[in-house]
Symmetry: none
């Protein structure tokens, strides 16, 4: 919505390359180790992505909140390309090897990712609690995904103190009202010029349905008219929602193997960079080119 | 919407008289002990309510899942009036006396309420996890409120096996998609003739805003066109949302001290029956009369 | 939406007392002659209306664009009450006595109403062409209702030159985009502080359905965020839509025998003032009082 | 949406090659004479179109309702390819050579197109009156475009009696409610298996905006869930709306020089077949192939 930096018909493409738990499947290869991630990031940058959204894995490929691994990942990425690096404190869920039950990381572990060395460029956070459901992403059952007000508030404060930008993952329109309340409480300026909303279909109970994502987008534009706003979705309908966002003039789209592995035509992508290229192809129909890293930096004020 | 039983311009008024945690405030007196509840129920029935939604308290007035107390409550209510009795497995939250932290009842404790003796008439359940926020209802801070799929599924199965009706509390439109998924999985018939949705504004992060409640109502009518549907809201805006629902032809409205204490004109009600009378007065503006217990029974097929 | 003048929980009630063609029916008596109109206006003012929307009739009660009759009407109203007077250049349709076909007034006749003596206070205009359909309002068949760009543009220019306010009757969301185009062409300032939109359900093909009126309301708020906005609807659902508008925080509601004769409870009103009282009663539920003439004048900057 | 015939990932591409008034411009050459039209149709068929939507012109290239010319056009098309032929009784507007004013064809002239010899395959009709505005299509000023109920009703009746399919051009969501009313009056079966809706952005006052077209699409799916539905738009945004439709699973897209001359990348197409190829390329992104004439015939039940 009219921002000087992105006015030149640009859209920021973000690639969420791995997620916390997703495994190789149907031919899609998930980057898990730091060097693999660094190489994947470079290929995605080459294909048009200005930002990578990344989760760490341990040596067995399991979800990890280990800050050392995160540091290694950041170094591997930066060694190969200037792509912006975003982490999220939605580390992802694990299974207890004994019981098979899901275990969620503690708030302490999650907040630990705010202090990496070297530092990531951008941060992400879920907009509140929900029932997480993403069968195509490796979460076959619905699980309550708790994001406490304490976690949210500490993250918001920390990220804005660092001078970075924070992505609020909006899987329900209600999350926007929570953010408005936090803004009214003084936690942040609702008109700050790098407020960032990511509207996602198919992360909670709501399937990636145009009507529902549009409702959240419109609520977002109404409550935070200056926000940078993006769209994504899980599963086979990812590009349906990405297209919807582009048709409505979004600033950013997110694709990648964390959320889905299918290209718009239903084929399985082999590499995350295939997803980036597909996003760029749809963006071209809307007269949009991928924003460069420099353009994305300017828009995020970092 | 057209249902023979309620076609004669009737609306079911439900009164949620106490909630699990709400305390006396500003002149509003919350019924807590079984005999008080029985008397309050009779007054509400006299005022036009066909159903009471009730939570148990211990002798100190604190939230309780004790089945003995529930039994006593049911007996006290039935001794005084034929009003329908509904419990919910959203027992409500407690505070740990040592730490002051919120403690939520376990699924086991919550499921226990499905087997009371004598049996309640109707059942309620939240439609999924959310961040509960109801400062006017005695919950000053937002707290994650987890309703696991296991809890939901067991409740749905148990209630329908009993031949009763189950109210799904919809605080987010996404809950409707979860229910649709459960129906598609065979857990219940989406066309069953006593499917029951309660749309509530102001229970989670979403404030009681007409646009948002309307979106959920519309999604509900689209996904479950045969459902009995009702509306409510928390806090001072309760009657704004109740009135919107009545103007749109809802089947049921819920008022009462669990959700708010203010009458349409802003005054604090002294007794739950004041809320019922106010609901009946607003209903009359739209040509609707309170459904009798017999009419409500017929509509719920119990 | 927040406007200092109306911030004190006020809503402007307008009463469209007769329309161009509506006849007495089912007990509702339509004021037609100037003195009758003057008396009806006074009763409506007494009941809470700050504005009357009026059409002239000839001595036989037939639709008329006669400026002399309009002058007489204005004098009769002003002799009895300070209520604001609005005319519209939607004079209304007539029947050819020979053929029974509908005849629409010419643009010349319609524009004539811009220069009455004494002058009316406020003006109204349809937002574009549509198929008019209002079986309960005396138009049993759908008829194309042409409002040419020339008519619209001349009216906009003339009214704003007079320093008055112009109501745009929005029966389709598309009309808002036409107005935006006119604003972009320099015909008026889209941020002018007395821009006035009236959203109506049931005037064209769209029945008075909440979803559709809400879509237009939201488009209006998006395109003209500073506008004074009101709601109305034709037929038995008038108060359903009026309630919707009040629940969403509208500035103005319009009721009256031009659009419908049924009170919220389905009874037929005898007098337009019954409709005004019913609107005030619903407004009270939303904590709103009828704006006085002085408050309405301040809001319309006249 | 699920229809057996088109389930195999097919989309019907229709090409509106000329319109009633559009002239050659910016390098785009509009086919006007019967032989030119026949050749253009063959090229479009070759490129993937299953249907041509065509208007007749006189020898000077001016809009014409002459049935002889239409017959010649149909013969010229059929001599070269099996592409389906659709006419519309929206013949288009002309200019009075004396006054320069627009003149619209009479209902009689428009209804004449229902009886051509040889007969066209399919028919189209506007869904009601609107203010037509298409500056890029050769209509520089907005003009009221009247489609009377009599014209609509006679057309519906005649087309369904012929056993053909009728496209309703929906430029406003309200048109859908008119159609629903006609269905309720018995004019047609709302569940007929070749009910056909074309959602168009930018034909009336509404610009080709995703939110508005989506609203109409959603209303269409809600009111006529079995309909064949397509999308199009006028001007430079044609492919933005076409792409949105494809991403959402539409059954049909319409492109061509009647509505716009720009390809997705902003270049001007030289030939209508360039537009068809572009539509097929966008469809391929979503895994869709152009339906053959035989597949389209099966879907339209002709």
């Amino acid at each position: 919505m009219g921002d000087a930096v992105l006015a030149g018909n640009k859209v920021i493409i973000t690639v969420a390359i791995n997620g916390g738990m997703q495994q190789d499947r149907d031919g899609a290869v998930i980057p898990k180790q730091p060097a693999e991630i660094g190489e994947a990031a470079a290929r995605c940058h080459e294909a048009g992505a200005a930002m990578i959204h990344v989760h760490a894995r341990d040596r067995q490929g399991k979800n990890s909140g280990d800050r050392g691994i995160y540091s290694e990942i950041i170094r591997e990425i930066r060694a190969r390309s200037p792509i912006l690096i975003q982490t999220t404190n939605g580390i992802g869920v694990r299974r207890d090897p004994a019981t098979g039950q899901f275990i969620w990381p503690t708030d302490k572990e999650r907040l630990g990712l705010l202090d990496l060395e070297p530092q990531q460029d951008l941060f992400g956070i879920a907009g509140g609690s929900a029932d997480f459901y993403n069968p195509e992403g490796g979460y076959p059952e619905e699980v309550p995904y708790v994001n406490s007000p304490a976690l949210l508030k500490q993250t918001i404060k920390a990220v804005y103190e660092k001078g970075s930008a924070l992505e609020y993952e909006v899987t329900e329109a209600s999350a926007l009202h929570r953010l408005l309340r936090y803004a009214n409480e003084g936690l942040f300026d609702r008109d700050r010029d790098n407020m960032w909303l990511l509207h996602g279909g198919g992360f909670g109970a709501t399937p990636p349905i145009a009507r529902n994502v549009l409702f959240a987008i419109d609520e977002g534009l109404r409550l935070f008219p200056k926000a940078i706003w993006g769209v994504t979705a899980t599963g086979r309908d990812m590009f349906k929602i990405v297209t919807l966002g582009l048709s409505l003039g979004c600033d950013l789209v997110r694709v990648g193997f964390e959320d889905g592995i299918h290209l718009p035509d239903g084929r399985v992508a082999r590499d995350n960079s295939d997803m980036v290229r597909a996003a760029a192809a749809v963006a071209a129909i809307y007269g949009l080119k991928p924003a460069t890293v420099a353009e994305a930096r300017a828009r995020f004020r970092i």
